[in-house]
Amino acid sequence: MPLIDIRGLRYRYAGAADDALCDIDLAVEQGEFVAVVGANGSGKSTLARLLGGLARPAGAARAEVCGHDLCSDDGHLDVRRDVGVLFQNPDNQLVGATVEEDLAFGLENLALPSPEIARRVDEMLARFDLEPLRTREPHLLSGGQRQRTALAGVLAVPRRVLVLDEPTAMLDPAGRDEVLAAVRREADRGLTVVLVTQEMDEVLLADRVVALAGGRAVFEGPPAALFAERELLHELSLGLPPAAEVGLALMERGALAELTLTLDDLVAALQAGTP
């Protein structure tokens, strides 16, 4: 059974005239990495909040995440234990006076024994390259370091699903790479990841991409399939990764046979010569 198993999910904000999400079907298997894209206001962040149990669906034929029913009284609260959510601005998520205190926060709330907390904090410091920063104050770290600390804090509590809502939007390029590498590593360890993003090159990290428009899912498939749908991309206010944008312009000029998605692919295709 999929870890995220949702059919006909609907959500409407209080006082709104329209549904923010409507008729959403989403099945994500254990270990899958799914990207969610769409224009501003298409419902991406709402979906992230629902998956993390931070809001409750208005209704659904089925809304199971890690075995919890998102529509039930207990389910939408219990799911928070299994699903970690990381937002755009790490400063809204960092609570500790030092990096290690921040990582311990969620574990202390679970009332784990102290040695277990200490062991778990050490493990997270090593896993996210934060060991040298353990006694530093989070607000004095770089953006990428802060976001990695927030991510480690979210994952310090054992999670089955990680939901990320534009986690790199505020970061400099190096910080962005650090956070994406950490997320990719967690996915490779078997963590199920749902990444909401506006960055088309981040979509390439995912196994599958879901595109939302007006609160409905209008595309689902591998990243390469989405980037081949040029009219749909335009309708959805999306775009191409830079290598694909150059690649497409070259195809239109007859200088390239196939769409390239990454810099490596583009360089290789150009060095191989004209088609």
Binding site: A39, L171, D172, P173, R176, L238, G239, P242, G254, Q271
Partner: protein
Amino acid sequence: MRRRGAAVTELEPEGARPLSVCCEGVSFRYDEGATTIAALRGVDLTFAPGASVALLGPTGSGKSTLLQLLRGLLVPDEGRVLLDGLAAGEGDVEERRRRMGLVFQMPEMQLFAATCRDDVAFGPRQLGWSDGAVDEAATSALAAVGLPADRFGARHPYSLSGGEQRRLALAGVLAMRPGLLLLDEPFVSLDPASRRDLEAILRDLRTGGMGLVLATHDVDRAYALCESRVVLDEGVVVDAGPWRFGAGGEDVLLAHRLKPPFVVELWRRLGRGAAEAPPQLTAAAEALA
């Protein structure tokens, strides 16, 4: 001296004249309780009239602080900011300060009026312009950001999409006829289409002679829009001037948590001179085809 009152009831807007801005030994510190954080140290920079300059640097490097110092919202602890050679308190330096428009990060958070037209008209009205001038300024600013007054003027700002709200906030600044536009991370959180729209608007403003200082992590767009760049790190200017790219690891951008633009990386990988990389992806494709 111009007084407000019976003699001069209706001021008219100045044209969007460009101006030069110069930082001389500018330092600024934030006091946070017991600790003091040096946001900028000994910054010497000159922004020529009508120039377009990208401010690049890691998070916390001082980009936003510098924009607020240029605009006069913060006052340097040391050094001074000169506008057309005039220091604070000299001549009509205040009139020149008004010719700098600052677009904050996430400026749509500041939209407040009941209609788009009223929101955009707020600034010009505060400047004491005549009703006719206010109206004309609002209409042309809305047109400049692709939200024509006849279609959008009467709409509520919150009925717009995220990208449209960002452009409306920009119109509110443009309505005051700046000669220099200071932008703090204008592309953040926008969808790809909205970023393309905003880039096109900024390009049009450039073509019209507007000066730009663009603080951003989006190096590709910075390269496409700006002739030169300033690299800040930990409050210090580590490089300033026209774009130049070293070989791989010697690159000043890579050395400061940044990345060269995509086209530069592509040119490098293809063994072409990085300095020859065209600023835009379409131009790059043309050159390669």
